[in-house]
Symmetry: C2
Subunit: 161 residues, 2 copies
């Protein structure tokens, strides 16, 4: 594989990651989910591709059924600055800028925009921390009239790792 030099600061994110997460928000019941994240580096391109999908877990009657999915790209802007663009089938897009530190990245939305029928999302913060073969993330969100607060926490393991 020919890794584009611009993407080197984010190479620790590359992999197929599987695991479980937990969701909470004032407007909904707590829930758990299974998740797969795929982050890949196309040869000689200055970005990473990002796709994600989740499914129901536990003793829910629809266990295994798809929940959320999203797709987008990560970019590095120098050794310690990250950017991301993410599109969601709910009609929301996120534009992120943030910091890379070691094998972690912390992103905040500079813009959240949505189609006419989408729910209101005002801001999203995402942190991703890679620790050996483990990826942990948190997602904080200000949406549907609520203050910025934790929405998702997950711990995934690198497939084949």
């Amino acid at each position: 594989m020919s890794l584009h030099p611009d993407i080197a600061p984010l190479v620790f994110l590359i992999g197929t990651w599987n695991g479980e997460g937990r969701g909470e928000y004032p407007t909904i019941a707590d829930f758990t989910y299974g998740e797969e994240i795929k982050i890949a580096a196309p040869p000689n391109k200055p970005f990473l591709t990002y796709t994600q999908r989740t499914w129901r877990t536990g003793d829910h009657p629809e266990a295994g059924a798809p929940l959320h999915t999203e797709t987008g790209y990560f970019r590095a802007a120098g050794p310690d600055r990250a950017e991301a663009v993410i599109a969601m089938p709910t009609g929301v897009v996120e534009v992120h800028a943030g910091k890379i530190g070691g094998t972690s990245v912390r992103l905040e939305t500079t813009t959240v925009a949505a189609t006419p029928t989408a729910k209101e999302v005002r801001s999203v913060e995402r942190s991703l921390v890679v620790d050996g073969e483990e990826l942990r993330y948190e997602l904080w969100m200000a949406a549907v009239g609520q203050a910025n607060q934790i929405h998702l926490t997950a711990t995934l393991r690198r497939q084949g790792g």
Copy 2:
């Protein structure tokens, strides 16, 4: 396949489409490209997934090399209204709203947003017309200080069609 009823107005877009396109803009030399568009309906979900990739064609020394790619989702908001969200590895996101008419859809950006290192894009219009086994699209763009004008035109055929 269990098609979600909300997405029925856009079912004509579903397929894997292959063909060639032509690019032009005042700031660049005209170019041609090969393209594959995949539009799919996940079972029982009210959206279509959209991914696209292009590559160099003709007698260019790097013929076959990847050019652009983008990813996102289409949604219908009733029988004649469409929405789309698209993320690009250049750090740009597009949020579209528009009209469905027969087997065509005409979208205009309600928001274009970008990461700090991305080029300036002010607006994008996309039309997609399906005519039997053929999909034609145009993309108009106002970017990098230029007025809204044609940027891309392509004619694709449904794979297996």
